[in-house]
Symmetry: C2
Subunit: 200 residues, 2 copies
DNA sequence: GCCAAATTACACAGATCTGTGTACCTATTT
DNA sequence: AAATAGGTACACAGATCTGTGTAATTTGGC
């Protein structure tokens, strides 16, 4: 309730730093010493807040699990807007793919990691599905899965290629899929580049 | 020239084992001792064939870089067939995502790894593009990128969800995209489940 | 200013990992 | 039978990593 952004807790500082390093360099690649040194605290302090590196990893993934906030935009705008914000994130030089996919890739069959990763993917698919239901799409379930594929596909491609255009490609494909499902894409909901093209 | 599959070289045995372990458990997660022990050779022998673990990693990735072999099937069958074989691979319990994406995810900004990963992704996109050109698709470049997104998206989703149905979803989306580009999908090129449904 | 809690410095245990050095062994070839 | 190549056993160096123990010190609340 106190909106003062004043002092971040020590625990928060540790978590924020661990998040950044884990995400950018990989979980196995970053040791607890490195994290402590980065903040300028002693390793002992870190272990006073997190009992083990595993606990830190769990907290890292939990922190990354943010539900999409409700929006007053139209469902179509929200769906297609997803790809616009993806493109923005791809353009940032500190983007390194999906933290959940990366964690599963490097931590393998770790139960808890897989579990939270699945939950995250499913929560985003359900977000898509809800919007599609609002649009009256009959096969909302199947289409939401396909949209999720496009999201993760563009993320994986950008991870290796470092090419934000992958988000546009995904958006274009998503537009086709939506139209095919009977969704009307209004002029204003379409992206600006295409709109400019149309007018010229 | 000798088609005898008789004796695999020691180097091949090392590489084959490293491949399996790196892929299934992650590159950082597998030590050279583990690889040597798995084969039942001494660590010294391993280092007599590969000067360093890095060299072994490079060889592993190079080995995974297989170009799709030419086929006499129709372009549409080849494109859609890609998703069928993906589904088959997803169903195998030793499937653990794309080795190149995984390697980039866990090894981070390693130059050489990124390079080979980009080359692999691009080679597959060009394979798609070539087939689309054969089909007379105007926007073969854009569409090939979108198909590649679907491939990588289904791989990423299957990696976390362990659900081969992701391949079907990708195939369905790909079919829509192809039709939208003016490609005729014949009865026989469509998947069997849909065909059965149609007849009933 | 005092007290309790948080933080620090730092050494250290124990595991694991990459890579090397060396002496010995065991095939195959000539 | 001798020589050569390849493999083995095994110890070890040196780095790195997780996690702990402890005593001293700083910090914030009262």
């Amino acid at each position: 309730m106190a909106p003062l952004p004043a002092k971040p807790t020590m625990k928060d500082r540790i978590l924020e730093t661990a998040d950044r390093l884990f995400y950018l360099q990989g979980i196995r690649a970053v040791g607890v010493d490195t994290i402590a040194a980065e903040i300028g605290i002693s390793k002992r302090t870190l272990y006073n807040h997190f009992p083990s590196k595993d606990a830190l990893i769990s907290a890292y993934l939990a922190r990354r699990f943010v539900a999409p906030r409700p929006s007053d935009k139209s469902p179509v705008e929200q769906i297609l807007g997803t790809f616009d914000s993806l493109e923005r994130r791809f353009s940032a030089k500190d983007f390194r793919g999906c933290p959940f996919v990366n964690a599963v890739a490097e931590l393998g069959d770790d139960r808890s990691v897989r579990k939270v990763a699945v939950a995250f993917k499913e929560s985003r698919r359900l977000w898509f599905r809800d919007l599609l239901v609002q649009l009256g799409v009959a096969e909302a379930d199947a289409l939401s899965t396909q949209l999720a594929l496009l999201v993760d596909g563009s993320i994986a491609q950008d991870l290796v290629r470092n090419d934000p255009a992958m988000a546009r490609a995904a958006k274009d494909a998503a537009t086709v899929l939506l139209k095919n499902a009977g969704v009307k894409i209004g002029r204003n909901t379409a992206d600006k580049r295409a709109a400019r093209k149309r007018k010229s």
